[in-house]
């Protein structure tokens, strides 16, 4: 095991999985350094859940390898397993168990179990130990799941869309709990999420899956800073964009051209100038907007409240999209 590997909490090497003819995950390689909070992003169907299932050993890859805390996940020792906590999508709990029972059930797997912490979390949310898990609201289930995930004081936490379906307040509660977790040094958190605002708050690094392939793997800020929207204004029909290095997508919107470019530099500027637009505007974006522009694809968005102008025989015809 190299030095590099031992300072990584998660090492994924050339991971692939297909379902029938379709690749769910294709040649994925990724290292998550110890102590990192890693936001794993991508549109639905991009391969995030499949990857996480392979990370936790719940699905077998067709190729490649996953190493957690230095051990291959397919042969994880129970000692190492007890240092890892996992929150599955939808926070499934055995519906017939009471909260008290599920705590008692989970506890023996973890020698480091902090019962005081569990009690604190459950009391904080006013959760009675006699309540059946099946009768809990979604938010309450998430709270129980989180208590169970925090109790073993895990070195590595893997969370699959932990805030899915939670209301705004519960989501904020969850985030605050996560911040508390992060504050202890050396703890690694790997989570997938659709709430980009939350990811921006807590993630040091992000990865973005697009159609089964990891297209982005860098510090959160690097991604933000690399993606730019460039809007070019013309007097009339804009020309087709000839393409440039780092072009993600482009489209015509009325008399404007909108480009999404990664690492905008002098060569791209030159190509833009060559089209002779009347004006140019370079737009910085927050993480959510940058993510949307990056992953939206070349399919036109549906401009529901937009008027489009089409030229038909020299006469401008207006139509709603």
């Amino acid at each position: 095991m190299s030095d590099e590997t031992s300072s990584s909490a998660i090492v994924i090497e050339h991971l692939s999985k297909s379902y029938g003819p379709k690749w769910a995950v294709r040649d994925l390689s990724l290292k998550v350094p110890a102590g990192c909070v890693y936001g794993f992003l991508g549109r639905n169907g991009a391969g995030k859940s499949t990857t996480i299932k392979m990370l936790t050993g719940m699905a077998a890859p067709d190729a490649g390898r996953v190493t957690l805390l230095g051990e291959d996940v397919s042969t994880l020792s129970s000692q190492t397993r007890s240092r890892i906590a996992y929150m599955a999508e939808g926070h499934p709990l055995y519906s017939w168990m009471t909260i008290g029972q599920i705590v008692q059930f989970t506890r023996p797997f973890y020698p480091n179990w902090d019962q005081t912490l569990v009690d604190q979390v459950l009391d904080h949310f006013d959760l009675s130990r006699k309540q059946k898990c099946g009768k809990l609201s979604r938010g309450q289930q998430a709270q129980v799941s989180l208590a169970l995930a925090m109790a073993p004081d895990p070195e590595l936490l893997i969370l699959d869309d932990p805030t899915l379906g939670l209301d705004t307040v519960v989501r904020r509660d969850f985030l605050e709990a996560l911040i508390q977790l992060i504050q202890s040094r050396g703890r690694t958190i790997f989570f997938s999420s659709h709430v980009l605002g939350d990811v921006e708050r807590v993630a040091n690094r992000i990865g973005i899956m697009v159609d089964g392939v990891l297209r982005v793997d860098c510090p959160t800020e690097t991604f933000r800073e690399s993606v730019r929207k460039v809007v070019l204004g013309f007097d009339s029909d804009p020309p087709d964009f000839p393409g440039c290095e780092g072009l993600v997508t482009w489209r015509r919107v009325g008399v404007e051209l909108e480009l999404v470019v990664v690492n905008l530099g002098p060569s791209q500027q030159a190509i833009i100038e060559s089209l002779e637009p009347r004006w140019t505007d370079v737009v910085e974006m927050n993480l959510e907007d940058a993510f949307i522009e990056y992953t939206r694809g070349s399919k036109r968005s549906l401009p529901l409240f937009k008027w489009e102008t089409n030229r038909v025989d020299g006469v401008a015809v207006e139509r709603t999209a």
Binding site: V37, L175, I179, Q183, V283, N286
Partner: protein, 130 residues
């Protein structure tokens, strides 16, 4: 002292926080030797990664605005700067020119700008002399 972050903003979080602290110091809302919240406290309050807070504090310390006192916390540095007077003037001139460009393009007269400057100067806590 109330800080806030807006994740919807185009400005990255660390820059928002950095700007807010700088502004608070410049306006006298945070005085010399005032203690700032710890990295832990602030990250909890703002619900952001403590690394981000740590990074802002480090940057501001490097710029001479904050100082860490071991075991005690992070404080606003006493006035005085490492930069020479010349370097400080130059930094300010860059900002001024940017401001004037904007003002000219917005159609202001120099008298209007002077008046505006007088008015805003009064909002800040200036060093006396030196």
């Amino acid at each position: 002292m109330d800080f806030s972050v807006d994740v919807a903003s185009r400005t990255p979080i660390y820059r928002q926080l950095g700007d807010q602290i700088r502004s608070a110091i410049a306006r006298g809302r945070l005085l010399s030797n005032a203690r700032l919240p710890s990295v832990r406290e602030l990250s909890r309050r703002l619900v952001i990664n403590p690394n981000t807070v740590a990074r802002v504090y480090t940057e501001l310390e490097r710029d001479g605005l904050l100082v860490t006192r071991h075991g005690l916390g992070v404080f606003v540095a006493p006035p005085g700067s490492d930069l020479t007077k010349k370097a400080r003037r130059e930094r300010l001139i860059v900002l001024l020119d940017g401001f004037f460009t904007e003002a000219v393009l917005l159609g202001f007269t120099s008298d209007e700008v002077r008046e505006l400057v007088q008015d805003r100067v009064a909002q800040f806590q200036w060093q006396s002399g030196a």
